[in-house]
Amino acid sequence: MLSARKFKRLLIIVAVAVLLVSLNYPITVHAMHIMEGMLPPGWCIFWFAVAAPFFIYGLYRMRQIVRDSNQNAKIMLALCGAFVFVLSSLKIPSVTGSSSHPTGVGLGTVLFGPGVLSVLGAIVLLFQALLLAHGGLTTLGANMVSMVIVGPFVGYAVWRLCRALRMNRSISIFLCAVFADWITYVTTSIQLAVVYPDPNNGVLGAAIKFLSIYAVTQIPLAIAEGLLTVLVYNLVISNHLWEESALR
């Protein structure tokens, strides 16, 4: 006996996801991520070197979680990965008149800590680089640093801070997801500004320009991502997929 209301709720999530994707049908171009070839080789290597230890740590954490957790950790890892998959495929219009997409790393960060996201997120970035010419293989390291390393770690810091201030879990998760999303684009802006300083105003001038392109567009999307993250979190908790008390 499936309660009709719960089933409807699921259907609506699917419908909204489909709606969001189809809403963006006429929008042909990519959003976010540093594109293939847009970073000089030296910087590509540098960012790969930065990302590598986090990736290895992520693999180690995943093994640890699957081995030690008595909750259904494997299933929840799949769910968190799928959430990143969905959200990073949604190109949403923003008030600035351009489009961009959320990152979806907040949920996994709160449930498993920031480490595992570097693995889950790398899969998504690889998928998009290979099949969608979105992002790139040479810029994969740089994109990993912004989306699946800096994002989750900052999000996690926000989560811990909110919990320390005794905010309730929903609000903490919301803020975690919002900041993880937004800081990703701030990081991208800085990564680009360092390589392409403004001819007149240097790195800082360039950073401000890139921020005005990426970070401002991202604000409403980050909020939307926060709301969606809380929604999925609610579904996870109310169906006993994860114990709320495990989230301190």
Binding site: V21, T28, G37, L87, I223, N239
Partner: protein, 105 residues
């Protein structure tokens, strides 16, 4: 339970509002990707920069690209819906078993 359900509806409503507002605020916006604007900015800051490598494969048309994006989204949505639906069914079943046990005793 009821409270959470209501909360979810409100959350969904807000997300939709956030997605629709831009069409009213930025009426003349082209809604192109922000990274294409970023690429433009790179050319402005350093006109001599040459893109040194190109993607191995680029979707042949906008339709194919949006198709692949939709596939990506659908895979993710499918997994999420399956996991949550499955857990939901299990919870219901457990409740029913408990209910039956109570009725018998």
């Amino acid at each position: 339970m009821k409270r959470k359900t209501l909360q979810n509806w409100i959350l969904l409503g807000l997300v939709i509002v956030l997605c629709v507002i831009p069409f009213f605020v930025a009426k003349n916006g082209s809604f192109t990707g922000s990274d294409d604007q970023g690429t433009e900015q790179i050319h402005k800051n350093d006109p001599s920069y040459k893109v040194w490598i190109h993607p191995l494969w680029t979707p042949p048309s906008a339709e194919v690209e949006s198709f692949l994006f939709t596939v990506q989204g659908s895979i993710g949505t499918g997994i999420i819906a399956y996991i949550i639906g499955n857990a939901h069914g299990k919870r219901k079943a457990r409740q029913e078993i408990q209910q039956n046990a109570k009725n018998k005793s």
